[in-house]
Symmetry: C2
Subunit: 431 residues, 2 copies
């Protein structure tokens, strides 16, 4: 129990109830004003970010330093993103289905905001205004925790942008967005499923895994991205090789990058020597199974842990399999169910793979790197989920809504439909 | 850890992977044969049920005894239900959306079976074949636990129906449906989110609550049904009174029966004396707030716990509130978010209530007893969920599916869309 945190969460849940009633116009006014406040307070935000950079200079490698660093260009992108969000349809309020149950008894299934969302993310401070804009557009409330390296930047966003925004716009309730200060606050938050409806962790595998293991609140995210490509005997080998290289090298640390390549025994002779050559040129280290290593002279022998490893670097595991069923079985056993593809020209084999592979994204003749909310055309990305319920795969704004059933009648009674003689019959007509 | 249970669950998960590939025709053949096997083995099933009845005669009250008892009529209904299911659309395989990302790069969002489902239900043995038929139709696998009172009946279904069905139809994998023997098995099952994708508890509030508190696996169900009606100042009082009585009395032990009645102060004089009279005639005991009890001479004083109690009997809590906002606030604080209604003629008030009440089903001028999958026209009901993610409110077969993204291309590479000059542009055209 944590009384301060419980109070924050209770206030957040109450704020959600008001946010859920905002009109689309009020949401868009908030987004426009959010964008303008960021522009107007750019100096204060960049000053705070300079303090973060100075305090963390020695602790961060160059990649993390670049992620932590804000500049006018990054803020301009954030502001552009917020203004694009204004143009998107409101994800809440949409009618998903309408059914006439009987004359004058109308059932409407309607998308509605989801609730109080807990968001935990690591160092990048530009994630925070992005998240706040998605929360506003969807009509939810949020408690979030940024990386401790970005604490001044995040606090500056709160002080210079969020607090003035909330004070200025009467229709925004106090507490619709609050900052968690510490890891202990996050731990406490995970223990309040009565207030928090969804947790979205964005960060290292370790962060996501530890959150998934600790809470009964639904989690939207993915711990691992162990993605596969399978080169079938019918593949166009020239094109397949290009897709494999793109899947591995286009951004190796991304969750949708290729980690394990399955090659059909039927084409081992024809494909593996070319793979070896190309990987050497691209600086890719291969970890090869016993059957494939004879074709891959510079490869290291793979160990069982290679089949479950997300390298995140220019390393690729290679395994020979005999036929599409063996490939499917390997993938269903070892994949993180994020994104897995086949390279094949035979349409029956493509169809079998699409049906039998149990992953959020299943690809035919395309780079695994396409598995992304923006590339899928969602306009905004909340995250990529390897959960099977609520939202799966790349998730757009629809991941921040649920639905409710609205029934409007003329004082109909159930006793007239059940037990009466003659009983009234439902019409169940789709409108 | 429980090695036997882990083995059962691993087999169930593997069976799911095969079930997910069944054609609609194979599913319907299974359902037809399931129905026939129940008809052919009626005697064995009823004999087993007689043993359950004999062994539990002294331990059960009449209502529970009637729920436990099978007869030819109940089995005929089960068989009819299974044959109706054959006619429903296959919930899996449906295309939910298609987008062209670029020329020849097509994204399909497709409904697919959900996984291995854990189901726990109490004494009614006719629930078991219903559940198995829903699992078959949706292409999932199941581990389930019936009430211990029904153990002979449940075992007879397995021995006389499920095992022969699985042996007879080559396309049904071993282990697609298994029985858990004990509460310890259920506890173990709740600890394996890597195998079990959804838990559906059907039984007492206590059972459901304890399962929700013990597992990280998503739970489809509801612990409480604390449902409200609010009689607004603009209500048609004659008709409102009939709806209140139907909501309370049509089946008082159902989860969608009325438990708390909110009455606007504006109509206290006009409405409460009539309510008192009618409730006396119907045998309803009232627990009234301080402000309303003066109008309700036979009522008992309500205590704070009345606002969160699901009586399940002919008892009704009554509270006076001033205006629709006070009614909404009471409901959002005390409701179990199952089903809450307003009785009002003013359309602005109706609209405000529909928008602001945060419950799975929100009604205007209709009995709460309509909140039910069959009445909503879903054809089959999995359960009623008060969760906010995955499935909310009455849930039909769509609660047993998820979706995946299928992307088929012509060897497109992400590097041509990102960083290339000129970069290819996505078309993002809805097909």
């Amino acid at each position: 129990m944590n009384a301060v945190m419980e109070n924050t969460l209770a206030q957040g849940k109450n704020a959600f109830l008001q946010m859920a009633c905002l009109s689309c116009e009020e949401k868009n006014i908030s987004l426009e004003r959010l964008a303008t406040l960021i522009e107007e307070n750019q100096d204060a935000i960049l000053d705070a970010n300079d303090r973060d950079l100075a305090e963390n200079k020695d602790a961060l490698d160059n990649a993390l330093y670049q992620r932590l660093k804000l500049d006018a260009g990054k803020l301009k992108q954030v502001v552009q993103g917020i203004r694009q969000l204004v143009k998107l349809d409101d994800p809440a309020g949409k009618v998903l289905a309408t059914t006439e149950l009987d004359d004058g008894l109308i059932l409407t299934k309607r998308a509605v905001p989801l609730g109080l969302i807990g968001i935990i993310f690591e160092s990048r401070p530009d994630v925070m205004p992005q998240i706040l804009s998605l929360i506003l557009k969807s009509g939810n409330a949020v408690v979030f925790k940024g990386g401790k390296e970005a604490k001044h930047s995040n606090q500056a966003f709160m002080d210079a942008v969020i607090h003035p925004l909330t004070a200025e716009l009467d229709f925004l309730p106090e507490g619709w967005a609050s900052l968690m200060e510490s890891r202990e606050d996050v731990q406490a938050m995970l223990n309040y499923p009565q207030y928090v409806d969804l947790v979205i962790p964005r960060g290292s595998n370790q962060l996501v895994q530890s959150i998934m293991e600790k809470t009964r609140i639904p989690v939207l995210g993915h711990a691992d991205g162990v993605c596969h490509q399978y080169v079938h005997g019918s593949a166009d080998l020239d094109k397949a090789l290009e897709v494999v290289i793109d899947s591995k090298t286009q951004y190796p640390s991304a969750c949708n990058a290729l980690e394990t390549l399955l090659v059909d025994e039927a084409i081992a002779d024809a494909f593996l020597p070319r793979l070896a050559q190309r990987c050497e040129n691209e600086g890719i280290t291969l970890h090869a199974c016993e059957a494939s290593i004879t074709y891959l002279p510079k490869a290291k022998p793979a160990t069982p842990s290679d089949w479950t490893t997300e390298y995140g670097t220019l390393t690729l595991a290679v395994k020979l399999v005999l036929g599409v069923e063996a490939a499917i079985a390997h993938i269903n056993q070892y994949s993180s169910h994020h994104t897995d593809g086949i390279l094949a020209e035979e349409s029956a084999v493509q169809a079998r793979f699409l049906k039998a592979v149990d992953s959020a994204s299943v690809f035919v003749n395309a780079s695994t790197r396409f598995a992304d909310g923006f590339r899928y055309g969602f306009g905004a990305e909340i995250g990529i989920s390897t959960a099977r319920t609520h939202a799966r795969g790349p998730v757009g704004l629809e991941g921040l809504v649920t639905y409710k059933f609205e029934l409007t009648g003329h004082h109909q009674l159930v006793k007239d439909y059940v037990g009466a003689s003659p009983a009234r019959q439902f019409t169940h007509r789709t409108l």
